[in-house]
C-alpha cells in the first residue's frame, strides 16, 4: 500500500546491504561461521532441542559416575550412552563434552564395550579442546584402561589431530608419547602421532638412537622409517644411516570409524550452502563424488603464490614491497588487511578471491590488468564447462547454481560485472530454457556492464524478449526485476564516474544516454506486450511500475539528461487498474515526472550549469496529455471528453449514452474508480454508520476534503503528492470539481 512513501533509495544504496553482509562474512571468523551454522540449523532446532537436553543429562551423568558400573539393557547408563551416540552422529559433540567422556573412557570405570562405543562417538561439532586431550594422556600414563582402548584412543587422536584447538601443550608432551614406543602394540600408532608432532627441536641423539635400536629389534618397519626420515630431514647431520629412497605408504589407514561420521556431521551442520562455507574457511574438502580433475566447481582456497616467492623477490614486482610478503592464509580481519596491504600478493589461483571479501577489497585497490585477465580466463572456462543447460547430462545443477550465486555476490561486492560472466550470458542466453538456474541467471543479468558495444540488442534483448513472451507471468516479473536492477546499476556506476572524472564526461555521456534509452524503450515494449498477454495482470503491472519509478527520476536523481515517458500501453492499464496500489504508484510516478520536467525547464530557462540539454517538446506533450487524462478521470470527471491522447479514453457523448450506464462521467473519479471504491465505501460507513444505501453522492463539498484526508491516512501518499502538485484547487473550502493540469 505504501510503496511510494517508503524511504526512497538513494543512488548507491541499492547494494550496500549485500556489501555489508559480505564484509560481515569474515574469513574464517569463528563467530560468523557459528552464527551461520545456527541459522542453517534453525529449521532443525526444535528437533535438536530435545536431543540437546538428553545429551546434557548424559554428560552430567557421566561426569558424576564414581564407581565401576555394569551395563544392562534398559538401564540408566544405557540410556545415556544411546543419547551420546545419537547426538554425536547427528550433530557432533560440543567442545565441553570431550573432557568428561575421555575421562570416562580412559579411567576404566566401564567395560570395554562401553568405552569403545563412547570413543567411536567422539565426533567434534566444532573443535576439541586441547586440555581434554592432555588430561586423557595423563590417564593413559596411569594405565587404568585396557590395551585395546589405548590403541583405539591413539587412532582417534591421529584422526582428530586437526580438530584440536591448540597443540602447544601436546608438543610439550612429546617425550611422554615417545616413551610409549616401547609398547610394541602401540608403536605404529605412536610413530604416526610423533610424525605429526615432530618439530626440529624434538630431534636429539638420544631419540635417534632409540629409534635405531627399535629398528634393529623389530626390523625395517615402515612407520619407524617414516619417523627416521623425518628426523633426517630436520637434522641430516645426526641421522647418518641411509634410508631407502623408495616411498611407500608409511602408515596404515587409521581413519577408523570417524572420518565418514565427521564428514556427515560437517555437511549436516553447514547446511545446503556447504560449498561456500568450506571454501570460505579455506579448507575446501575434495568433493566426495568423483569428478573430472580439470572441471571441479571448487573455487580454489586462497594460498600464497609459491611460484613467485622465490624468483620475484628481487624484482620488486610491487614497488613498495618489503622483503617479506604476508601469507594469505593468515589474513582474517580487515585491520590485518590494512596493516599488510603493502605486502600482500594475490593467491596463486585468482578464482579464490571470489569467496574472500578481504581479497575482494584488495582487488578494488590494486588496478592490475593481469588480475582481471586471470579471473576472466578461469571464470569463463568454469562457466562454460559447468553450464547445466549447455552440457548434456550435467548432474551438478545445485553446484552450478551456488557457483553462479557466488559470482553474483562478488559482483555486488565489487559493484562491477565480470566480463567472463557477460560473455557467458551472451553466448548461452539463446540456448537457455528460462528455467534452469532461473533466479541465478536473471540476477547475473543485472551486472552486465553498459558498454559502447552496440550489439546488446541482438545478444541480450532479442533472446530475452523471446523468453519473456513465451514464459509464465512469474518469469516476466523476474525479468523486469532484473532489468530494473540493471538500470539502477548502470545509473549508479555512472553517478560515480561523473563524480570522478567530469572532464571526460562528454565522451561517455552520450554512450550512457543511448544505452539507457535503449534499455528503457526495450522494457517499455516488452511491458506493453506483456500486459496484453497477461490480461493487464496487477502483479505484472506492479513490477513494470517499479521499473518506471527509476525512469521518472533519472534527471534529478542521477543527473542524466534523459526522461522517457511510459508508453500509453502501460499508462492506461495503470490508470484504470482495479487495485489501488498500482494507481497510487502511477500517481507517484507522474508526480516525479512533473518534478523532473519542471526542474529541467527551469534549468533550461536560467541556463544553469546543469548539463545543457533540452528534452524534446514531445516529452512535455505526452506528459500533458497523460495529466489531462488523469485529472479528467480522477478529479474533474471529464476524461471521456477531455482526453486527447490518440490511444486515450476519449469517446463521443452519443456513444457513451448508448452504454446506458448511469453516472457515467464520474465513474473513474476518486470516489467511483474501481480501485478506490473500497475506500469510499469504508469512508461512508465511518461518516454515516446508519446509512446502508451507500449514497456516494454524499461525498462532496466539505466531505470531499475529509475523504481526501481519509485517503491520505490510508497510505495513498502517491495520490497525495500527485493531487497536491498537479491539481490547483479553486478554493480550499468547496471544490469537488474544478481543477486543471499545470505544466
Amino acid at each position: 500500500m505504501q510503496r511510494s512513501s517508503r524511504a526512497r533509495k538513494q543512488p548507491l544504496h541499492a547494494h550496500h546491504k549485500s556489501q555489508t553482509d559480505l564484509s560481515a562474512w569474515r574469513k574464517g571468523g569463528t563467530i560468523d561461521s557459528e552464527k551461520s551454522l545456527q541459522s542453517h540449523q534453525s529449521a532443525n532446532d526444535q528437533k535438536y532441542d530435545s536431543q540437546e537436553e538428553s545429551l546434557e543429562q548424559a554428560l552430567s551423568y557421566f561426569e558424576k559416575v564414581q564407581d565401576c558400573v555394569a551395563l544392562k539393557k534398559q538401564s540408566v547408563p544405557q540410556k545415556h550412552l544411546d543419547a551420546v551416540e545419537s547426538t554425536a552422529l547427528k550433530q557432533g559433540l560440543p567442545p565441553e563434552g570431550f573432557e568428561i567422556l575421555l575421562n570416562i573412557v580412559l579411567s576404566g570405570k566401564f567395560a570395554d564395550t562401553v568405552n569403545t562405543r563412547l570413543l567411536k562417538s567422539l565426533i567434534p561439532a566444532s573443535v576439541i579442546p586441547e586440555d581434554s586431550v592432555v588430561k586423557a594422556v595423563s590417564w593413559l600414563c596411569v594405565s587404568k584402561c585396557s590395551g585395546n582402548i589405548k590403541l583405539l584412543f591413539l587412532k582417534w587422536l591421529i584422526t582428530m589431530f586437526d580438530y584440536i584447538d591448540h597443540k602447544e601443550q601436546l608438543h610439550a608432551l612429546y617425550g611422554i608419547f615417545f616413551s610409549f614406543l616401547q609398547d610394541e602394540r602401540l608403536c605404529p600408532c605412536i610413530c604416526h602421532l610423533l610424525y605429526l608432532l615432530t618439530r626440529k627441536e624434538h630431534v636429539n641423539p638420544f631419540r635417534i638412537r632409540r629409534l635405531l635400536e627399535l629398528q634393529a629389534r623389530m626390523g625395517m618397519q615402515s612407520y619407524l622409517q617414516a619417523l627416521l626420515s623425518l628426523y633426517k630431514l630436520f637434522c641430516p647431520e645426526q641421522v647418518t644411516i641411509t634410508l631407502p629412497g623408495k616411498m611407500k605408504t608409511y602408515f596404515k589407514n587409521s581413519d577408523g570409524p570417524w572420518k565418514a561420521a565427521i564428514t556427515a556431521v560437517r555437511q549436516r551442520n553447514q547446511g545446503p550452502s556447504s560449498l561456500s562455507q568450506t571454501l570460505f574457511l579455506g579448507t575446501a574438502q575434495p568433493r566426495s563424488r568423483k569428478r573430472k580433475w580439470n572441471a571441479q566447481l571448487v573455487i580454489p582456497a586462497s594460498s600464497a603464490n609459491t611460484n613467485n616467492l622465490e624468483d620475484d623477490r628481487e624484482k620488486c614486482f610491487y614497488l613498495y614491497s618489503t622483503n617479506e610478503s604476508f601469507p594469505l592464509e593468515q589474513l582474517h580481519t580487515f585491520p590485518q588487511l590494512l596493516q599488510n596491504i603493502h605486502r600482500l600478493e594475490f593467491p596463486s589461483q585468482m578464482g579464490s578471491v571470489l569467496t574472500n571479501p578481504l581479497l575482494l577489497h584488495y582487488m578494488n585497490c590494486v588496478k592490475d590488468e593481469s588480475i582481471y585477465l586471470r579471473l576472466y580466463y578461469w571464470m569463463g572456462q568454469m562457466l562454460q564447462e559447468e553450464c547445466t543447460w549447455c552440457m548434456v547430462d550435467n548432474p551438478y545443477e545445485e553446484e552450478f547454481k551456488s557457483f553462479l550465486e557466488t559470482v553474483y555476490k562478488a559482483e555486488c561486492f565489487l559493484q562491477e560485472g565480470f566480463s567472463a560472466c557477460e560473455e557467458f550470458l551472451y553466448k548461452t542466453l539463446p540456448l537457455w530454457d528460462g528455467f534452469c538456474c532461473r533466479s541465478e541467471v536473471l540476477r547475473l543479468l543485472s551486472w552486465i556492464p553498459l558498454s559502447s558495444f552496440s550489439d546488446i540488442k541482438s545478444y541480450l534483448y532479442d533472446p530475452l524478449a523471446q523468453l519473456f513472451f513465451t514464459s509464465s507471468i512469474y518469469f516476466k516479473c523476474s525479468v523486469l526485476e532484473s532489468l530494473k536492477e540493471l538500470l539502477q546499476n548502470w545509473l549508479n556506476c555512472n553517478a560515480i564516474q561523473v563524480d570522478l572524472e567530469s572532464s571526460s564526461l562528454n565522451t561517455t555521456l552520450s554512450g550512457l544516454v543511448n544505452g539507457v534509452a535503449e534499455l528503457v524503450r526495450f522494457v517499455g515494449w516488452i511491458s506493453t506486450v506483456g500486459l496484453r498477454l497477461e490480461n493487464n495482470s496487477m502483479l505484472l503491472l506492479y513490477f513494470i511500475l517499479d521499473f518506471y519509478e527509476i525512469v521518472c527520476d533519472m534527471y534529478l536523481k542521477y543527473n542524466l539528461p534523459l526522461l522517457i515517458m511510459l508508453p500509453a500501453g502501460i499508462f492506461y492499464p495503470a490508470l484504470l487498474s482495479m487495485d489501488s496500489v498500482n494507481l497510487n504508484q502511477l500517481c507517484y510516478i507522474m508526480y516525479r515526472y512533473r518534478t523532473n520536467l519542471v526542474a529541467a525547464k527551469e534549468n533550461e530557462l536560467c541556463k544553469k550549469k546543469m548539463l545543457q540539454f533540452k528534452f524534446s517538446d514531445q516529452t512535455y506533450q505526452v506528459y500533458n496529455q497523460y495529466i489531462i487524462a488523469m485529472v479528467g478521470c480522477l478529479w474533474t470527471s471529464s476524461a471521456f471528453q477531455k482526453d486527447i491522447h490518440p490511444q486515450g479514453l476519449h469517446m463521443d457523448d452519443e456513444l457513451l449514452s448508448k452504454t446506458a450506464v448511469k453516472e457515467l462521467r464520474n465513474s473513474f473519479n476518486i470516489v467511483y474508480h474501481p480501485a478506490m471504491m473500497g475506500y469510499s465505501i469504508q469512508f461512508l460507513q465511518q461518516i454515516c454508520p446508519d446509512d446502508t444505501t451507500f449514497n456516494f453522492k454524499l461525498i462532496k463539498g466539505k466531505k470531499w476534503n475529509w475523504y481526501l484526508e481519509y485517503l491520505y491516512t490510508q497510505g495513498l501518499k502517491g495520490l497525495k503528492v500527485f493531487i497536491e502538485s498537479s491539481i490547483s484547487r479553486v478554493s480550499q473550502a468547496s471544490c469537488n470539481k474544478a481543477g486543471n493540469a499545470e505544466a
Partner: protein, 328 residues
C-alpha cells in the same frame, strides 16, 4: 629439408589458417590459407618424430601466468615432488630426493608458426626401472606437450607475464594427466578443458586433408558415422580411396589457397549422395564421429593421431585454432 620434390612446396601452402574470431568466438565461414613460414621448412623431422603415430588426447589451456622458460628444471623438481606427494596422499615428501617417477620438462623449438608463438613445452614422466641398474633406460610412462602454432589470435592480446600455449596434448594414463594438469593449474593459474571436435570441424578436417597429396601410398580416407537414437549402437564406416577423395575435392575447390564452408558442404554432400545411391542411407542424418586420412585421424571426443611429419604444423595450426576458440 622437406623430403619429396615439387609437390611438397605447393602442398605446404595448402595448410589451413585460423579463421577470424568474432567477439564471441563466432567464426566466419572462410579459412585463409597462407604460405607456410620458413621456420616450418627448416624443422627437423627427427626431433618431432616421436609425436607421430600416437593417439593424443586434446585439451585447451588458458594462458599460463608467470611461466618462466628459464626455470624448467625447477618446475620439473617441483612437479616431481607434487606427483610423489599426491601418490602418498598427504604425507610429507622431501623435495629433490630420488622419486620413483622422474619428471622432465623441455622446450620443443621446432613447433611454432608465427613470430608470436612460444616454443612448445614437453613434459615427460618416466618410471625408474625396478631393476635399478644404472644403465637401463627409464621408461616413459606419460607424455604431454603444450603448443601454439599460429596462435596469434590469442597471444597478440595478452599482456606481459602470460604465456600462450593454448593446445595441450597428452598420451598416457589419465591419472597422470590429472596430476600434471592440477599442478599446472595451481602453479600457473590456468584452466584445462577437454577439446572435443564438432562434426562440423571433422568435416573441415576431412575435406582439407583429403585435398593434400602424399608422396607415398596413403591409406584410405575413412569417415565413421554414428547413428543416433538406436537401441543398439550402430556405427557406419565409409571408406574412400584417397585418390578418389582428392579428385573429388579438386573439382569442388574453386580458389586454390582458400577453403570456404560452402566448398566443405558441397564435398560432404557429394559423399553423402554417393553413399545414398548405393545404400539408401542418408548419412547427413547421422553424426560424424571420426575421420581418418593419410595425414591424420581425429575423433569427436578430441583424440587425434598425426601420421605425417610434413603436415604436423598444419594439423597443429588447426587444432590451435580450435583450442583458442574454446578459450575465448
Amino acid at each position: 629439408s622437406s623430403n619429396g620434390s615439387g609437390g611438397p612446396r605447393r602442398l605446404s601452402r595448402a595448410l589451413p589458417f585460423g579463421r577470424s574470431h568474432g567477439r564471441l568466438g563466432v567464426s566466419s565461414s572462410g579459412r585463409l590459407i597462407v604460405p607456410a613460414p620458413s621456420s616450418q621448412e627448416k624443422a627437423d623431422p627427427q626431433k618431432t618424430a616421436f609425436l607421430l603415430r600416437k593417439a593424443w588426447t586434446l585439451y585447451s589451456v588458458t594462458p599460463l601466468y608467470r611461466f618462466r622458460r628459464g626455470r624448467l628444471r625447477d618446475y620439473a623438481r617441483l612437479l616431481g615432488a607434487f606427483i610423489a606427494a599426491e601418490k602418498q596422499k598427504g604425507l610429507a615428501v622431501e623435495v629433490g630426493v630420488e622419486l620413483d617417477i622422474k619428471v622432465a620438462l623441455s622446450s620443443l623449438a621446432d613447433l611454432r608458426g608465427s613470430e608470436l608463438d612460444q616454443d612448445a613445452l614437453l613434459v615427460q614422466l618416466s618410471s625408474r626401472s625396478q631393476a635399478s641398474s644404472k644403465n637401463s633406460e627409464d621408461k616413459v610412462v606419460w607424455s604431454g606437450w603444450f603448443c601454439s602454432v599460429f596462435g596469434d589470435d590469442l597471444s597478440e592480446n595478452v599482456p606481459e607475464h602470460f604465456t600462450c600455449l593454448p593446445l595441450f596434448l597428452t598420451h598416457g594414463a589419465e591419472s597422470y594427466t590429472s596430476l600434471v594438469g592440477s599442478w599446472f593449474q595451481k602453479t600457473f593459474d590456468c584452466c584445462f578443458r577437454r577439446l572435443a571436435i564438432s562434426p562440423l570441424n571433422l568435416s573441415w578436417m576431412v575435406a582439407m586433408w583429403a585435398g593434400c597429396k602424399l608422396d607415398r601410398a596413403a591409406s584410405a580416407v575413412e569417415l565413421v558415422f554414428s547413428v543416433p537414437r538406436l537401441a543398439q549402437p550402430l556405427d557406419i564406416s565409409y571408406a574412400i580411396h584417397p585418390e578418389d577423395a582428392k579428385a573429388l575435392w579438386d573439382t569442388v575447390q574453386k580458389t586454390p589457397g582458400e577453403i570456404t564452408q560452402e566448398e566443405v558442404d558441397v564435398f560432404m554432400d557429394c559423399l553423402y549422395a554417393h553413399f545414398h545411391r548405393h545404400f539408401k542411407i542418408h548419412l547427413s542424418a547421422a553424426k560424424l564421429v571420426k575421420v581418418s586420412t593419410g595425414i591424420a585421424s581425429a575423433q569427436c571426443d578430441g583424440i587425434v593421431k598425426i601420421l605425417h611429419s610434413q603436415y604436423l604444423p598444419g594439423v597443429l595450426m588447426l587444432l590451435t585454432e580450435l583450442a583458442i576458440s574454446q578459450i575465448q
